[in-house]
């Protein structure tokens, strides 16, 4: 019996790691070689990854925000830099 790879990562370390894992999952599912339990686990993990990636994209999807380095430096000097 082939070893089933159903590692579920709670939190991807980065967007690219999440996408890489997502592609692995899709490839595995497309191969048709995963059993029912593995398929369901992969689908669950994949959905979590899709949610994570969508959230990451949302973070850079609300419009460009511009700051000036000298302004930030000035705020830092007076200790009023927003977090």
């Amino acid at each position: 019996m082939a070893t089933e790879t159903t590692t579920v990562s709670d939190s991807p370390e980065s967007y690219e790691a999440a996408v890489e894992r997502l592609e692995e999952i899709i490839d595995r599912l497309d191969s048709g070689q995963s059993g029912l339990r593995e398929t369901l686990d992969l689908c669950r993990e994949g959905r979590e990854l899709v949610k994570y990636c969508a959230a990451e994209l949302d973070e850079v999807g609300e419009g460009l925000k511009e700051l000036r380095l000298d302004d930030l430096a000035a705020r830092l000097e007076v200790g009023s830099e927003p977090s």
């Binding site: 967007y15 690219e16 996408v19 994949g46 899709v50 850079v60 609300e62 460009l64 380095l69």
Partner: protein, 445 residues
Amino acid sequence: MDQAPVQKQVGTGLPGPYSVGRYAGKLQDWMRERARVQLIGEVTGVGRSKVQAYFELRDSDGAIPCAIWLNDLEKAGLGDGSLRDGAEVVISGGLDYYPGGGQASPNFCFRATHVRLAGEGDLIARLEALRKQLRSEGLFELQKQLHRPRLPKTIGVVTAETGAARRDLLAGLQRRGWGGQVIWGFAPVQDRHAAPAIGRAVQDLAARPEVEAIVVTRGGGSLADLWAFCDETLCRTVAMLRVPVVSAVGHERDKTLIDDVAAVACSTPTHAAEAAVPLDCLAARESLERCAVSLRRAGEGAIGTRSRHLGALARGPARALQRERAALNQKIREIRAAAERGLADRVASQTRKGSVVLERARKRAIGADMEKRRAALRRAEVALRAHEPERTLERGYALVEGVDEEPLTSAAAAAAAGEVKLRFADGRVRARVSGDGDGDDDRER
């Protein structure tokens, strides 16, 4: 140097003391005997007197005071104002020393006898030397080994505040659908102040934890215009940063030193935007949608396919039984047919065998029986002949018959008949019975 006719100083053990004027004169001679060379560098602090122009020639490693007689400057044929701060020039000359005098101050300088603006060739030669040096130190590889996030949320940008590069970079970022945070580190991008300012900006940006990539960019220009981006100190600074730097300085044909040490070198600010944010956010969203659809289908398909399979399996035993039954019936029909064919064959065979036996028996039986029958017949014929009435009649007896020639076997029958026929061996005669006596009497007589 000639020994001064003075008393030897006790304590230091050094020669002298000498007359300073004579020492200065000897120093002037010694300097003027040094080899004449060409120097290249950036002009700063240009000033003029009635007879000469003076300035400093410097680069990132050092500087030297220079002077040129005005008539030599005129012979050089530079345009008005060409010898100005920030100009890259090549000067020819040698060391000189003015010993001064009773009222005049001494002065050391590189006495230029010729000056020209540095050409591309000069700058390229300097650039190649620097490039070779930095490459040999492995500084070209450090940035390229850094991880570049595909989707940074904050990027730093070093560029001129009013340049077109800023606008192009923003447009490139927005085309990718990226709407993260940009921290601008504005700096001059063309003069001798540019390189230090750019260096400070990249260091300040790299010090901010949220900055995941830094873009250094400016528009095109001559190599002299872009020379700040070939500054050795700036390039060493960039090479050592732990944040990836994307350079986009000048156009495609312009290759500055910062391009060599940066993680990625791009030909335009637009390309720099793509390198700083490798992920096309619009395409990524579409791809993510497709992934979500694939996952949904895979999940639903896995259950649907398997439930259909299970259904098929559940119906399997009945189908198998039906198949087995059909197969069995077929076998039975075949066996029957075979049996019938076999029985008929055996019957026919047995019949053929029986016929042959019977025929043989019949033939055998007929042969033996005929002999017996013939013998019996012969015996019966003999016996029969012995009992034939004709044989008795031949011996002289007569047979009494009625007129109807039926035998009359008693006297009473003959008396009752009245008329009889007597049958002899040679023929019959009629006779009449007379008398009414009974037979007992007659037989007694």
